[in-house]
C-alpha cells in the first residue's frame, strides 16, 4: 500500500532531465526530495502525478501504475501542491480551498464538504483570509491556501512542490509540523521537495538527494545529508552545528 518508483527517466528535446530515479514511500512517512535548483525536483513530482509522461520507468501507487488510474480516481489518492498559481479571474480563498473537495462531490457541496474546507483553513491558520480574493494574497499566504486545498482533498498521499519556499521561519516550521503530523496521525504518505536541508533533516523520515538528474542517495536523513554529500551535490562547504538535540548545517562558502 505505498508508492514505489523505479528507473524513472524523463527527457526534453534539450536533453535528459531525470535518469534512473528510484525510491519508495510508505504511508506514515515524510520523504524530502532535495537537490540544487534545476535538478528536476518539480519534474519528478509532475511525473509522479502523471502530468508528464516518463520516457522509461515505473511509478507504482498502491500496486497500480499511475497511467492506469483515471484522473478522478487518482485525485482521491493523491493531492498535489504546485509552487504557485496564476488565476485569471478573482476567486475567494474559501472557494479555492473548496475546489479540493471536487473529487468527493457531485454538484452541490454538502455540509461536510463546507466544514472540511473551513477546517483546512483553520489547520493552516488562514481562516481570516477566507473571504479574501486569492489573487491579492502574498506569496506565502497563497502557498498556505494551496496547502489547505490539498488538505481539504483528504487523500492518503500528498505531493508538495517546495511548500515552504515563500514562507517565513515561523510558518515554515508550522507547515512542516503539520505535514509531519499528517503522516504520524493520519498515516499519510507525504512527499515534499525542499530547499532547506535542515528542514529536510529535521522533519523527514527519508531523503532523496538528486544530483544532475540522478539519484545521489536515498535513505535516512542522517545517512544522506552530511558534509560530503552537501559538498558534492550543492558545492558548498558546511559546518555541522548541534544544540537542543538537533543537528544542522551552516553553509560556509562555495567550494572550489
Amino acid at each position: 500500500m505505498s508508492l514505489a518508483v523505479q528507473g524513472l527517466c524523463f527527457s526534453r528535446p534539450s536533453g535528459r532531465i531525470l535518469s534512473d530515479v528510484g525510491f519508495d514511500l510508505e504511508p506514515g512517512q515524510v520523504l524530502a526530495v532535495a537537490g540544487p535548483n534545476g535538478v528536476g525536483k518539480t519534474t519528478l513530482i509532475r511525473l509522479l502525478m502523471g502530468l508528464l509522461p516518463p520516457c522509461a520507468g515505473h511509478v507504482n501507487l498502491r500496486g497500480k501504475e499511475i497511467p492506469h488510474y483515471s484522473r478522478s480516481a487518482l485525485a482521491r489518492l493523491v493531492a498535489y501542491v504546485p509552487q504557485g498559481m496564476t488565476g485569471i479571474f478573482p476567486m475567494k480563498v474559501f472557494d479555492l480551498v473548496l475546489l479540493g473537495r471536487r473529487p468527493h462531490l457531485a454538484w452541490r457541496p454538502s455540509r461536510r464538504d463546507l466544514e472540511r474546507t473551513a477546517q483546512a483553513l483553520f489547520q493552516l491558520g488562514i481562516e481570516g483570509l477566507a473571504e479574501r480574493d486569492a489573487q491579492r494574497l502574498s506569496g506565502g499566504q497563497l502557498q498556505k491556501v494551496l496547502i489547505a486545498r490539498a488538505l481539504a482533498q483528504d487523500t492518503p498521499f500528498l505531493f508538495l512542490d517546495e511548500p515552504t519556499t515563500s514562507l517565513d521561519l515561523r510558518h515554515q516550521l508550522e507547515v512542516m509540523e503539520l505535514l509531519r503530523g499528517l503522516a504520524r496521525d493520519k498515516g499519510a504518505g507525504v512527499l515534499a521537495s525542499l530547499h532547506d536541508v535542515n528542514m529536510a533533516r529535521r522533519f523527514a523520515d527519508k531523503v532523496l538527494l538528486l544530483d544532475q538528474g540522478r539519484t545521489y542517495g536515498f535513505g535516512s536523513p542522517d545517512e544522506i545529508l552530511n558534509e560530503t554529500s552537501l559538498r558534492e551535490v550543492y558545492g558548498v562547504e558546511v559546518a555541522r552545528l548541534s544544540g537542543c538535540g538537533l543537528t544542522g548545517f551552516l553553509p560556509l562558502r562555495a567550494s572550489v
Binding site: R46, M49, G50, L51, R71, S72, L74, A75, R76, V78, A79, Y80, P82, M85, T86, G87, I88, F89, P90, M91, K92, F94, D95, L96, L99, G100, R102, P103, L105, W107, L114, E115, A118, Q119, L121, F122, E127, G128, A130, E131, Q153
Partner: protein, 360 residues
Amino acid sequence: MSTVASPEYRALAARLSAVAPEPGDVLRAQGRRAARQRMWLIFFLGLAMGGVALSLFWGPDGFDGPRVLASFHGDNAVASAMIWSMRLPRLAIGALAGMGLALSGCVAQAVLRNPLASPFTLGISSGGAFGAALAMILWPWSAPAIPAMAIIFSLLTSLTALGVTRLRNATTETLVLAGVAVMFLFSALTSYIQYTAPQMELQRIVFWTFGSLAKAGWGDIAVAAAMILIPAPWVVLRSWDLNLILCGDETAQSLGVSVSRLKVLGIVAMSVMSAGAICFCGVIGFIGLVAPHMARLAVGNDHRILLPASAALGVALVILADLAGRILYAPLVIPVGIMTSFVGVPFFFWLIIRDSRRRW
C-alpha cells in the same frame, strides 16, 4: 476546539474569539455570499423575463399589451398573425442568440484562460458568418448547408484560437490580436463574396454582417434551438471542471479533470453554440464578452451560478438592445448588432484598461 477549561484559558479564548473567526463564522460568511449571489441570479432571470415581456408588448406604435394578449385568444386574426410570424420569432431567436453567445463567451474565457476571449473577439462569429454566406452562394437551395457551414467555420476559427494559446509565450493579448487578424480575414472574404454575389443573395448576406433578428422563421429557430440548447446542459454540467481549469491545467488535472478532453469538447460546444447564434441573425458582437463579465462582477466565478447568470444576462441584453433599436428611430429599425456594439465597445475598452492596470 480545545478542552482546556482553566478560567485563564477561557478568558483568553473569549478575547481571541472576539477577533479571530470561528469555523461557524467562516461558513456563515460563505453562506451569506452564496445567498447574495443567488439574489443576483434571480435578478438577472427577472431582467431577462422582463425584457422578453416588454419586447413582446412593444409594437411599432408603442405599448400594445392588450392587443397582444387578445391575439393569444385568437380574437384578432391580423394581430395574431403579426405576433406569431413577427414578434415571437424575433424574441425567440433573440433569446436563443443571447443565451448561446453568453454561454460560449463563458466557456471560451475558461477554456482559453483568457478574460478577453469571446466568440466575437476571437473572430469565431466572423468565421461562422463567412461560412453561412459561403453556403448561401454555393448552395442557395439547401437549408441545412447554412448551419453546417457556420459550424465548420466557427470550429476552424476556435481551434485556431486554441492552437494560439498553446504557443510558447502567448499572452492574453496575443490571442485577441490573432482574433482580430482572423476577423479581418473573414470580413474580407465576406466582402469578396458580397462583391461577386448576385443581387438576390447580396441582400441576404449584407443583412448578415449587421446582425439582425428580423429574418428568422420558425424552422430556423428550431435549428438554432437545437444548436444552442443541446450543448448548453453539457456545459453547465461541466461547471466544476471549468472552475478548476481557471486555476491552471495541472491543478485541474491533479483534481481529476481530463483537461485536454475538456478543452476540445468545450471548444466544440462553444463553436456550435455561437454558430447557432449567428446562423440566423448574423454577427451580434460583444454579447459573449459583456454578459459573462457583468455576471462575474455580480455572482463571482463559480460556473455553477455564473453560467445561468450569464445566459440570463445575455438574453436580457440582446432583447433589450433589439427593443432599443426598434424604439430609437421608430418606425426605422436599427439592427441589433449595431446596438450591441454601442454598448460592447466601451465595455471592451474598460476591460482592457482594467486588465493592464492590474498588471502594473
